[in-house]
Symmetry: C2
Subunit: 452 residues, 2 copies
Amino acid sequence: MAEALESKYAQSQLKKLNAALADGRFVSVRKLLHELPPSDTALILESSPVKTRDDLWELLDADFHGDVLEELSEDVRNGIIGKMMPANVVDALEEMDTDDLAETLSSLPDQVLQDILQSMDAQDRLRAEQALSYGEETAGFIMNTDTITLRPDVTVDVVLRYLRLKGDLPENTDTFYVVNRTDNLVGLVPLTRLLTAAPDDKVSAVMDEESEAIPVNMPDDEVASLFERYNWLSAPVVDEKHRLVGRITIDDVVDIIREDAEHSMMSMAGLDDEEDTFAPVLKSTKRRSIWLGVNLFTALMAAAVSDLFEATLSQLAVLAILNTIVPSMGGVAGNQTLTLVIRGMALGHVNPSNSRWLISKELAIGFLNGIIWAVLIASVIAVWKQDFMLGTIIAFAMMVNMVAAALSGATLPIVMKKLKIDPALAGSVILTTITDVVGIFAFLGTATLFLL
Amino acid sequence: MAEALESKYAQSQLKKLNAALADGRFVSVRKLLHELPPSDTALILESSPVKTRDDLWELLDADFHGDVLEELSEDVRNGIIGKMMPANVVDALEEMDTDDLAETLSSLPDQVLQDILQSMDAQDRLRAEQALSYGEETAGFIMNTDTITLRPDVTVDVVLRYLRLKGDLPENTDTFYVVNRTDNLVGLVPLTRLLTAAPDDKVSAVMDEESEAIPVNMPDDEVASLFERYNWLSAPVVDEKHRLVGRITIDDVVDIIREDAEHSMMSMAGLDDEEDTFAPVLKSTKRRSIWLGVNLFTALMAAAVSDLFEATLSQLAVLAILNTIVPSMGGVAGNQTLTLVIRGMALGHVNPSNSRWLISKELAIGFLNGIIWAVLIASVIAVWKQDFMLGTIIAFAMMVNMVAAALSGATLPIVMKKLKIDPALAGSVILTTITDVVGIFAFLGTATLFLL
């Protein structure tokens, strides 16, 4: 038995690799890469700048190409495939499972995909086209076709003898599927059941008929939440006629769970989920500029609102100084509500039957927050600027903006979801625009009425 | 075989339950709850306001209490346990696996925990204390103790006969563990191997000696990344003497993966990961107010910086109007970098050997972004305000702030991690303070120099 895992293993290997690469000791690099499991090689490639990445790939034995490509994130993988000869890509794809093949091919730019398909022989091309035939982000797309099927009328003993003859089982096999003559799924037999059953029991007697099957076109995030909710390790996939077409295993679902959870965080900052931390400067700049452009537009809108009060601002410079406080507090409070509701929707907690309740709850919090921070800011301003009236005005604006923030934070994601817009992507820009505009209007407007 | 899963099943059940509850048809509610799997009941409880939640819990058969508690999130679970009689809690805990027991007990307030421990008989208390003996967020804390161990010198046939006698295997058993006389782990036998091996093979001949074991004190996020990286379904846990103490299964790891991924998103908005979407108003207000307080402080700091330029602002109201644009752009650009680096660190891509490279990359992006948005804002201002000098000044400030944003976005998380502060929690406040202060200084300072 190997030693207990050294947790920083991949990191120390990365250090060694970098040193060997810097010194031009290519034989050592090759040797080090040869010893690593594919997932560690993938991690190292993802942790390297593009140039180092290309050098390492050149030095990696072609036998490992497929296994490593499987483990890479989309952006990094496409970068590498784009620089490979199509024939070499075909070789690398040959050993892949259907689900990994589908994922790899579908994310490629069209031209690269066509080149690769054309370099394939007829059989491989058929397999690739089959893998690509299910819509992206569906159960069919992430399933594997390597199911082991049993007939209901054979005995456990026969099955065991068959398995011994067959030898190796597909990776992560934990369940056998029982199908009838027309390939309809009629039951499941967990491996554990097979081990503990009496040898002369019929499969039909030990199989589980109650289990659920996943329709081939179910969205992958629903598949993931079913796995998470019921603690499944694998699940059968059936077509519209309830024929078994494949199985989904937990390791593919784990990736979806992580991606979905990350998606909101990345989108809220205006980043692409698959964004490669070490992408070239120009590519990253281009990707991030859309978000900055949107933000410039909203910042100019806020400035245009302030512009309406130019006369007020030119008479009272103190208003200019305090003008950012109310919008900033509204933005933070609104984003808290927004984030909570977006997560609640992702976990399936927020739905039409309780959204009205949720909105009133958030409004109540907004109201309470408004009172707390209004009193606080009024006291600070009254002391700092020795102006009680000014304190009252900023307090009123704070109150208004906190309620507006809560209302928009709670309703925006619900409305956007109905309009089929991703709330994580656009929610926080729209929210900030609302809290900026309302905050400035409330503060400068009230000040214009009462201070001039 | 049941029908293919209806994906909105839980939602339609929730609707029915709510209707029955509203009409006071308690018998129907009980019946509906009785038919649901525990995870669906948990989802429904989490999707309900506290009052409804309490009513539903009252109506739920006590036999299901333990299974449902296991599936609930911390906040909701503690709320329910807090209202139960200690003796009833003890009954509910009796059937729990060690890992779920540890998680449930450890998150309880101290007084409640003491009451519950005191209501237990000696044997249960011992089990509870054992479950709690490993540090939270370690492998020991999330492991189960229900391993099936084999001796190396018995034959496969003997093992199979033993398993048939034993009957049911623990949930999610996919591997048997081979231990010697002193309980040291010497190998693993996957179930699939046992099925395909010849009956007279010795266990020592079919076992896998190369596999890795997890040290009992390894942090749980490292455990999760190992599972993710190597696509494990389960892994043995060993103590410092390499004795087998338990096993970790993928279903527990999935929860950690989701929690870790969500943690960053929630922390960046100043929320607690476990925050219950339907928590009472007062509790939520209190929790969120810390973050709002910090933000008020930083907003006041930004105002204090503007205050330094009161003379300038009182002469040129246009500066007051444009004062928010540069800080806002810096904040967004900096947050993009910050989010990317935080995610890169979570995925293990960012480490000491490449962080310098990453910082220079982000600086280059900041510089490029600075040029793009400086030119754009200068043109907008030159046209809008008919003032070329003003455009040049805001462009210069934009340039400076974009570089400052990139630099702080990239270095902050790296520095904070070294200081053992969670970058997701405090990173974005510090960053926004920096971009606000630098932005205002650069804009109003330059304007004071050149426009007065």
